[in-house]
């Protein structure tokens, strides 16, 4: 909401500097986006009168103007503007002057002719294209003839003003008006609000002889008023009015339109004028449209209507889309002599839906959507009549047609002084609160702890005590409220999940892996890119977004791998050489929907790296280390050959306590290639929700051993197919109760080893907690182990 401070001063005294005005308005709840000082952005622009125009001797498209700028000598300026004429009063920027876009004007020669400055357009003087009158939009600004040549333009046009852009919150549509803002300012600065003059001095005839109004849908149109103005003389409105419209962000059009816009900005009440000659029978009927009806709006667009849309009809046809835009068939033209002035109240939701369906948002529809006080209609209509009379552009016909079946009455509320203090943490008196309410044009009467407040009907946001608490707080000043810390409540607790997440993140960071975060929505084809099988329904039951940003963001992810591959791919393309990353994020699945319609959400952890950060066993080490730290020690890694995402010989399912908790492996080369990564990528996706469920970090310590251990190494030759896990199982079984641990320390293939075989070496540690072991018994067990390996997996003992 753009507010010219000069205009605001018509309704309320503002006797503080603009900066202080702004600060205090902000603290009382009228937040400010920007403050623009008009006329501050240029220098050395004066009023000039074109005395003579001669053709340019060397250029067809240029002319040479001699201007009276209030000095003895005429000023010569060369221009190419098509709209200049002898006798025109125009803005002239002198040599040395500065334009808002930073251009500095210097004496120059244009095709051999001296030019001492430049004639200015409104745009060159800093006005936005959308507020410049169409007459002068494409040329030099033609000013009023009565301006004195040589005057500084700021003084001549009264440009020195501050335009404040207020951010109006949706609960305060009453502030989308000069009077609404003046009401706020009056309360803040302790002044009285001065309402504008609304009664015409001379009225002729009776409006009932011209127009009748019938509301057929009172739920969609609570009130409709009509006034009539005859002997209308359409022409430009005076500069003071144009300036206010422009500073308020609206384009001046002609006096009738400008006055209705001016009053809309004053009161927040949209108004519309119909040419009475195109309103059949002088009848105004408010009713919904017919399905499939076609109608051409003022902007020249033909639109298709439906039966939900409220329209203004005359005796036979539609003439306006209620609250949105008038029809081309009843618009004001230069020949219009009598107009019907509509000042009506339409249902905001209805206007919003119509405007949305038509794809047509207007200043009026925006205001109706937010809600307007129905009591404003007649006052705003009267104000228009007053201005029409004042500007001499028509004769006001007496009376008003006012269809207002259910009058909107003020809603009184009893508020408690103690309750408001209880909410705010203050100790304000009832008198102080009463004073605040009164300053905001409310009636307020205190009776001990209770204040009966009656707000003006424009304040549709005041419904409960808390609303009044806010009024008190913002007028008293949020900055003056005390600061305390809330007492009570239990000691703060972390969720178990977050505790585990933080632990996991710390471990993964310590491994040198960077944490990433990616979007939760992906393309449904993302899983194809990582070779997810057609039968893999778990990853294909997408939760779909009805209105996605695009196909590539249209479903919720069911796994983290595609996003991880994308991130690795981008990093690879960027030339980042050794990259290791992880993400903990939610995945979504449509196969389980709860009673509220929500799909299952689970968390996954994806770890991946490329570029010499390690191999399969590095990855496995990361996983083992993590699971061990989270208290899940007994984990089985089962070879998995059936997942096309991974290298079939380098992939394992991870199983803990009989539950699949993830899959890891080397990404299949065709997948990495698809992502443009020319290196081995190692990746695992863990079902983090399952891991969090299994996490058990409770434990008790084991006493330190009192007796020494005996370490015996063993090396055997076995077939390639024999797994380490199998051998460890045999060793553990045959090693008996005195075998404390077994650990692999070497796998060797190559020289002296037969093709298809490998040499595997383990270190076995024997210990009895209660005594020192005898050499013979260790040897006995060791032989037992060897025999087991020989028998169960065809191992052949190698000499150490």
């Amino acid at each position: 909401m753009l507010v010219s401070v000069n205009w605001l001063k018509d309704y309320v005294d503002i006797d503080v500097p603009v900066s202080e005005f702004c600060d205090r308005m902000i603290l009382s709840g009228s937040n400010i986006e920007t403050v623009e000082k008009t006329g501050d952005s240029f220098s050395k622009i004066q009023v000039g009168k074109i005395v003579r125009i001669t053709p340019h001797p060397n250029a067809d498209k240029l002319v040479v103007c001699q201007l009276d700028v209030g000095e003895e000598e005429l000023l010569q300026i060369v221009t190419g503007a098509p709209n200049v004429f002898e006798g025109a009063t125009v803005p002239v920027i002198r040599n040395g002057g500065l334009l808002p876009d930073g251009t500095k004007i210097k004496k120059s020669k244009l095709r051999g002719e001296t030019s001492n400055g430049m004639l200015c357009s409104a745009a060159e003087m800093g006005y936005d294209d959308k507020v410049i009158s169409l007459d002068i939009r494409d040329g030099i600004w033609i000013l009023d003839d009565d301006l004195t040549p040589g005057m500084d333009i700021k003084e001549a046009l009264g440009l020195e003003d501050s335009v404040v852009d207020f951010e109006i919150t949706p609960n305060r549509p009453d502030c989308l008006s000069m009077i609404g803002m003046a009401r706020e300012a009056a309360a803040v600065f302790g002044h009285t609000l001065k309402y504008p003059e609304t009664s015409a001095e001379n009225e002729e005839g009776d409006v009932r002889d011209y127009v009748s109004v019938e509301i057929r849908k009172p739920d969609l149109c609570p009130r409709y008023t009509a006034r009539v103005i005859k002997d209308v003389k359409v022409g430009p409105s005076p500069w003071w009015m144009q300036k206010r419209l422009m500073h308020g962000g609206m384009r001046p059009v002609n006096n009738i339109v400008d006055i209705t816009n001016f009053v809309m900005m004053e009161y927040g009440q949209p108004l519309h004028a119909f040419d009475i000659s195109s309103v059949a029978g002088g009848k105004i009927i408010i009713d919904t449209a017919n399905d499939g009806e076609h109608f051409t709006t003022l902007d020249g667009t033909e639109r298709e209507l439906d039966s939900s849309m409220l329209m203004i009809h005359d005796a036979g046809k539609s003439i306006a889309v209620a609250g949105v835009m008038g029809g081309l068939n009843s618009e004001i033209t230069p020949d219009t002599s009598t107009v019907i002035l509509e000042s009506a109240n339409f249902n905001g939701d209805s206007v919003r839906l119509t405007s949305k369906k038509l794809g047509l948002r207007t200043e009026a529809s925006g205001r109706y959507e937010k809600g307007i006080d129905a009591n404003l209609c007649s006052e705003a209509a009267d104000r228009v009549c007053r201005l029409i009379e004042q500007l001499g552009c028509g004769t006001v016909v007496g009376g008003i047609v006012d269809e207002y079946p259910e009058v909107s009455e003020p809603k009184p509320l009893d508020v408690r002084v103690s309750r408001i203090n209880h909410i705010l943490g203050t100790d304000l008196s009832g008198e102080e609160m009463t004073r605040i309410f009164t300053s905001l044009e409310m009636e307020a009467v205190q009776n001990e702890d209770v204040i009966r407040v009656i707000p003006p009907t424009v304040r549709q946001d005041l419904l409960i005590e808390e609303d009044y608490a806010e009024e008190v707080a913002r007028m008293y000043g949020y900055d003056r409220l005390p600061e305390t810390l809330a007492a009570g409540g239990a000691a703060a607790a972390m969720t178990t999940e977050e505790t585990i997440r933080q632990q996991a993140r710390a471990i993964l960071n310590a491994y040198g892996l960077d944490e990433i975060l990616t979007y939760s929505f992906v393309s449904p084809t993302s899983i194809e890119k990582v070779n997810v099988s057609e039968n893999d329904l778990m990853h294909r039951n997408f939760v779909k977004i009805i209105n996605p940003l695009g196909e590539e963001n249209s479903v919720m992810r069911t796994m983290l791998i595609p996003n991880m591959m994308d991130v690795l791919s981008k990093n690879y393309a960027q030339g980042n050489k050794k990259v290791g990353m992880f993400e903990i994020g939610r995945i979504f699945n449509d196969s389980h929907i709860n009673c509220d319609g929500q799909p299952a959400e689970a968390e996954d952890l994806c770890i991946a790296f490329y570029g010499g950060k390690g191999d399969f066993y590095t990855l496995k080490g990361y996983v083992q280390g993590l699971l061990d730290k989270l208290g899940i020690p007994d984990v089985e890694y089962r070879p998995e050959k059936g997942l096309a995402t991974y290298h079939p010989g380098r992939c394992a399912n991870i199983i803990a306590n009989g539950e699949l908790i993830g899959t890891m492996g080397e990404i299949r080369p065709d997948v990495s290639e698809r992502y443009g990564i020319d290196e081995d990528v190692y990746l695992c996706e863990l079902l983090f929700t399952a891991i969090m469920r299994q996490t058990d970090t409770e434990f008790v310590y084991k006493p330190l051993p009192k007796y020494p251990a005996v370490t015996r190494d063993i090396a055997v030759l076995v077939d390639e197919e024999v797994t380490i896990a199998e051998m460890e199982r045999i060793i553990t079984e045959k090693g008996g109760s005195i075998l404390e641990s077994v650990s692999l320390f070497d796998v060797y293939r190559g020289k002296q080893i037969e093709e298809g075989k490998k040499s595997v070496a383990f270190a076995l540690v024997y210990r009895d907690p209660d005594r020192t072991l005898k050499d013979e018994e260790v040897t006995q067990q060791q032989e037992n182990v060897i025999a087991g390996l020989e028998k169960e997996c065809g191992a052949e003992l190698r000499k150490m």
């Binding site: 809330a486 310590a510 939760v543 979504f588 929500q598």
Partner: protein, 341 residues
Amino acid sequence: MILDELEAIRKDAEESFEKAGSTENVEELRIKYLGKKGALTKILRSMGKLSPEERKNVGQRANEIRNGIEKFIDEKTTELKKHQAAMKFRAEALDVTAPGRIPKLGAEHPVTKTIDEMTRIFMNMGFSLTEGPEVETVFMNFDALNAGPNHPSRDMTDTFYITDKTLLRTQTSPVQARTLLTKKPPLKIISPGRVYRCDTPDATHSPVFHQVEGLAVGEGITMADLKGTLSEFARQMFGPDTKTKFRPHHFPFTEPSAEVDVSCFKCGGEGCRVCKGSGWIEILGCGMVHPNVLKVGGIDTEKYTGFAFGIGVERIAMLKYEIDDIRLFYENDERFLKQFR
């Protein structure tokens, strides 16, 4: 004569030890003089032939000389060891200005890092962590939070819908509603999490971002408590001299409502690029929980009051680290991430 011999040995030993250049030399000399076949030992062995008187003199002298030689050995050994150590140190000297081998640590994501810090601050003020679903019901995301049926944020242009009853939550505030439905006051919770809005990504918009929600409900909780809590948060997050400014604002789920600015932590309020010259930076929205929201949880609004706030995590991180493009958080370029270790 024997005494002369002894004197010659002493002299010879003194000179030899003087010349010894290594601990090996010293050992050789020890053997030469004091060894089983050493010069002094030989003389001592031959003393049997002497008269008792001579034996006494010679013995005394020989002992003196042996003590002398032992002293030479000690002194020389010490000196040589010192020298050897010095040599060794010289040879092993390192260029300490050359770079060390830093263990490669991974980086925390700046969003997580910021959430962790905010969580820590609020937990220290007694707020417990709570989590909620990202696919929310329309009821929890809007109705329960007093957003009217025509509230513009419900539009398909603003909110991602899954069905007509479910959506991707647009704010962490539904956790407030869920908490009020399941827990009894007094309660103080915070809830960090992901939220979604229909915004095409650009430098300042992201369709996915994070918020931290806060809620306190109890007997006698006031707006002054809200101010105190958030001012304390601002001081801990941005520095002890940080000032806060509470401006009246409007949210459907709070009344009275406020937006909070902090004094610019870059320029301290003088006005700079970070605060766009104003000296203040808006960081969050908050207010006293609207009675309609408390009623959803069946809470007696006469007895209990509460406050709530919502803070945009990326916004805080962007301000704190002077990051000028929100997309960087989701591009995950290692060169960006590695800066947040």
